[in-house]
């Protein structure tokens, strides 16, 4: 997907809760490129415009797994703390 598409998808899927500022999107994409977790290709869109399409690499996929795991652990931990507070 290209940059705009990524921003739109995030907004749509999260029901407008999460918005990615363009100002943070592109630097973030640069960082991902630098780390080698995504790769970019210039392709044509449906309307015949040139756009850069980003795809996850193999290492990127692995890193995604790691990040998801860490995120889930964090959620669980917060949940526990809140449960304690409740009780």
């Amino acid at each position: 997907m290209h940059g705009y598409g990524i921003a739109q998808s995030i907004r749509r899927i999260s029901d407008d809760v999460l918005t990615v500022e363009e100002g943070s999107l592109y630097p973030a994409l640069q960082r991902l490129l630098l780390q080698g977790w995504v790769k970019a290709e210039w392709k044509l869109t449906e309307t015949n415009r040139r756009a850069r399409y980003y795809t996850l690499t193999a290492t990127g996929r692995k890193q995604l797994g790691v990040e998801v795991l860490q995120f889930e652990q964090m959620i669980a931990a917060i949940g526990l703390v809140l449960a304690e507070a409740d009780a």
């Binding site: 363009e22 592109y26 630097p27 630098l34 080698g36 756009a51």
Partner: protein, 880 residues
């Protein structure tokens, strides 16, 4: 692996920066278009939609920058900072040049001193296994020479050394054809080069198997420098013959350029075998066990400690004492590091260099403080600019980075130029021969250690200004500063005041040191030496170059004295074999009359002794206190006589008159004392009172000859007359004629070096500090002009205001001076190591220092004060 890939990716992105920027622009443009389209689809007008999209997207430039920031190397920011700093420094050249010059001088001074220290003290000799090389000396301090038979016994009987070698320093007349040229040599044992692992540059070196007994090895190994100078680096010189004191020797090789023998400061022109010493020096010490004229060095076996080896040698020494009680009684052994004449030069050199290094570091400290206060002043000036930048959102860290960049640039420039100047100075120094008469070279070594120090000093010198700037920036309250120049000039001490105080103290300290050095030198030169060099001319000649051995020399010497006395204007003339304080000379033990056992421990004294002709004492103005001078009748057929000095007379006979009494020397030979002379200096200016005695030339022949002529004429006239006289006596004799005062160069050399070093450092420091003080003081006063303007406008008297403004500065000057002088007094111990008889409790020194400080302070205060007094209050008010 990750990091490496990341690095390359970064590199790639950066290298294709333009294309990358274009691509990003394209991407962003598309993003905006799509957003625009979406807005239009949602019902907005086309124009509105475009603006909405642009707004949503945000600041495009900022975005570009941020994206770039993610990718770029940190070093790019550094380069940018440096470029800005360079530009800013170029705009204030006065500041930049002052800073760089003072740093350069200070760092160069430190590097030069350290370079000498490196070669003389820290680095071992330039030979193989230098860390295991030791010199074998006696237990008694200053007794470093051995005899050849003793050396041979030590060598053959020890179990702790892998090998031992011997060497002796002397000079000969070298000639290829015609006149002999005085050249310096090492006489060495055959295994010298092999033990030290020295490989020849050309030909071969001496080996142990070249020696087959006395006078068996007429070979010469040239030093590289001598080969280049005298033989023009001719490769066919191998196999050529040269005459050494009229005896033919064959050149067998040239030593490598980096090898200069085993003494750090004395470099020989060539090496010859010790077994041939009879030909070379007309001496015969190979079999004389009591003649201590050589130096012995040895290579410890790997794993053997110094303590073990010392014990081993002392055991052998005890054996030798039993076997040869007359010569070796009391023999002992001690190991010292070779290179600095055992401990004759070692401790003195080390202490001197350490003292000088300490002073040089002080000079550097002064330069750093200078730099720091310059920075502080500059930063204060830029207070508004910094405040504004902080106010509009620059991080303090960025601002600091830029100021640090300036400090870094200056210190790197100062360090770089300083290192370059230092390496040039070191090169000049290593080619310098301070005393033409001796092969003394100041060896210096500019190796990794020296450059490491340069780096360290550079970094260190940048730290203080950096810290100060950081402190100032962090404390800047942007609002306050921008509101106006109403900086309350409070009574409390600012950092700049403290810096000024420190500078003053350092200046006072260094001025004190400089004065102490100068006074010490002055005092040294005034010390009574037991002779009067002023008004005396020396004629030095080498009778052995023309073939006059000891026994044949007497008639020539007598003729020299008698003909010199006939020259108009001459009041006295006489010869001596070794001039006092000329680096040579010998001493020998004497015994009471009636002694039969001439063991060393039975001796009553070991005075210096000289062979003099009649008339010498008068020519040298060594005053006779009792008795008479020698006459030509005191010859080989007459009874043995001697003249002693006061110290020796006192040692032998207490307060009783010594004239007419006797003493004995091994033989036994009895000497009658016919005269007593005043005490003097015989070895060095700093020695304690020594015993000395004189023998008549006719009874104690020696072909070493120096003719001393006292006259009322100028040295030029005397030189001409004496040269003619010597030409008539024997035109083959090489003569050197000079005033005695010039010849004392060797004795006064250490004192001169010390004075020059102290003088230069003191002057340097004085200049640095004075500049600093001047700058700081006038700056401080200038800052308060505004306040002064207000006061004067409100009706205060100018003098009153001036006093108020100057009071702080003058107070600082006063306190700083006192502090510096106190430090100087406390540090006089250190100075005493550097300069003989250096003491701070000298009215000239203290008075001089005080006067100097007052002068500097007055100068520093006067200029801004005048400006303030003469200025218009309106102008003062406007100044910020």
């Amino acid at each position: 692996m990750d990091v490496v890939m990341r690095f390359f990716r970064r590199l790639g992105m950066l290298l294709r920066r333009k294309r990358y920027a274009r691509e990003l622009d394209e991407e962003m443009a598309l993003h905006r278009e799509l957003a625009e389209k979406q807005f239009v689809e949602g019902g907005m007008a086309v124009d509105e939609a475009r603006y909405a999209a642009m707004r949503q997207f945000g600041n495009a430039t900022r975005l570009r920058e941020r994206s770039h920031e993610v990718v770029r190397f940190r070093i790019e920011t550094l380069v940018q900072d440096l470029r800005v700093a360079a530009r800013r420094l170029r705009k204030s050249p006065g500041f930049a040049i002052t800073a760089v010059v003072s740093l350069t001088m200070a760092i160069a001074a430190n590097l030069v001193v350290f370079g000498v220290m490196n070669a003389a003290v820290l680095r071992p000799l330039n030979v193989a296994h230098a860390n295991r090389l030791m010199m074998i000396v006696h237990k008694e301090r200053g007794y470093i020479s051995q005899s050849y038979p003793d050396y041979q016994d030590f060598r053959s009987r020890n179990s702790t050394f892998s090998d031992m070698a011997a060497y002796r320093i002397g000079y000969v007349g070298l000639s290829t054809q015609g006149l002999a040229r005085k050249s310096w040599m090492y006489e060495i044992s055959g295994n010298y080069f092999d033990m030290l692992g020295v490989r020849p540059e050309l030909g071969r070196v001496l080996h142990a198997n070249d020696e087959h007994g006395p006078n068996s090895a007429p070979y010469v190994v040239l030093s590289d420098a001598f080969w280049r100078a005298y033989f023009a680096a001719d490769p066919h010189v191998i196999g050529e013959k040269v005459d050494l004191n009229k005896h033919p020797f064959t050149i067998i090789g040239v030593a490598p350029p980096a090898f200069h023998g085993t003494e750090t400061f004395l470099w020989p022109d060539f090496w010859v075998p010790m077994v041939n010493e009879h030909q070379l020096e007309d001496d015969d010490f190979l079999t004389l066990r009591f003649n201590h004229g050589i130096y012995a060095i040895g290579l410890l076996k790997p794993g053997v400690t110094i303590a073990q080896a010392t014990q081993n040698l002392n055991t052998i020494a005890a054996q030798m004492a039993k076997q040869h009680p007359d010569a070796d009684d009391g023999l002992s052994a001690r190991l010292v590091k070779p290179g600095l004449m055992g401990d004759e030069l070692g401790p003195a050199t080390r202490e001197f260099l350490t003292g000088i290094l300490a002073l040089a570091l002080l000079v550097l400290a002064t330069a750093c403080v200078n730099l720091a206060s310059l920075f502080a002043a500059r930063a204060a000036d830029r207070g508004r600019e910094l405040a504004v930048r902080i106010a509009i959102g620059s991080s303090r860290w960025r601002v600091l980075r830029q100021v640090l960049a300036e400090a870094v640039l200056l210190s790197v420039a100062g360090g770089g130029v300083g290192a370059w100047v230092a390496s040039w100075l070191l090169r000049v120094l290593s080619q310098w021969q301070p005393i033409a008469a001796y092969p003394i070279h100041v060896s210096v070594l500019a190796d990794a250690r020296v450059y490491g120090l340069a780096l360290l000093l550079t970094v260190a010198s940048g730290i203080l200004p950096a810290i100060l700037s950081a402190r100032q920036i962090w404390n800047t309250d942007a609002m306050q500063v921008m509101k106006g120049t109403a900086q309350p000039v409070l009574r409390k001490l600012t950092l700049r005041d403290a810096l000024l105080g420190v500078q003053v103290a350092l200046c006072a300290l260094l001025v004190t040191c400089g004065l102490v050095g100068l006074r010490g030198m002055e005092r040294q030169l005034e010390a009574p030496m037991g002779f009067e060099p002023e008004g005396a001319t020396l004629v030095q000649t080498e009778l052995d170059f023309a073939g006059y051995s000891d026994n044949l020399a007497l008639p020539v010497q007598k003729r020299m004295v008698e003909q010199a006395e006939e020259i108009p204007g001459v009041t006295a003339a006489g010869t001596i074999n070794n001039l006092p304080m000329d680096g040579g000379g010998s001493s020998t033990p004497i015994y009471r009359q009636g002694t039969t056992d001439f063991r060393g421990s039975n001796s009553v004294a070991a005075p210096h002794f000289y062979s003099v002709s009649p008339g010498f004492l008068h020519a040298a103005e060594t005053w006779l206190l009792a008795g008479r001078d020698f006459t030509w009748h005191d010859d080989a057929k007459a009874p043995n006589v001697a003249i002693v000095n006061e110290t020796l007379a006192h040692t032998l006979f207490g307060n009783a008159p010594a004239v007419g009494k006797y003493f004995a020397m091994p033989g036994p030979t009895i000497y009658q004392i016919v005269g007593v002379v005043e005490n003097g200096k015989y070895g060095s200016l700093t020695e304690s009172p020594q015993a000395a005695m004189y023998f008549p030339l006719a009874q104690s022949p020696d072909n070493n000859t120096t003719l001393v002529v006292r006259s009322r004429r100028t040295s030029a006239e005397m030189a001409a007359a004496l040269e003619t006289m010597m030409g008539k006596i024997d035109p083959r004799l090489p003569v050197t004629i000079e005033p005695w005062t010039s010849a004392l160069a060797l004795a006064l050399f250490p004192a001169r070096v010390a004075t020059v070093a102290l003088g230069i450092l003191g002057l340097l420091a004085g200049m640095l500090a004075a500049t600093g003080i001047f700058g700081m003081a006038s700056y401080t006063v200038a800052r308060r002009m505004h306040e002064m303007g207000i006061r004067v406008a409100l009706g205060a008297q100018r003098m009153q205001v001036l006093r108020a403004v100057m009071s702080r500065t003058l107070l600082l000057l006063g306190i700083g001076s006192v502090a510096g002088l106190t430090l100087g007094i406390l540090g006089s111990r250190v100075l005493a190591n550097v300069v003989y008889e250096a003491t701070v409790y000298d009215p000239v020194v203290l008075g001089g220092a005080i006067v100097a400080m007052i002068a500097i302070g007055a100068l520093a205060a006067v200029t801004p004060a005048r400006r303030a007094l003469l200025a218009n209050p309106a102008v003062l008010l406007k100044e910020q």
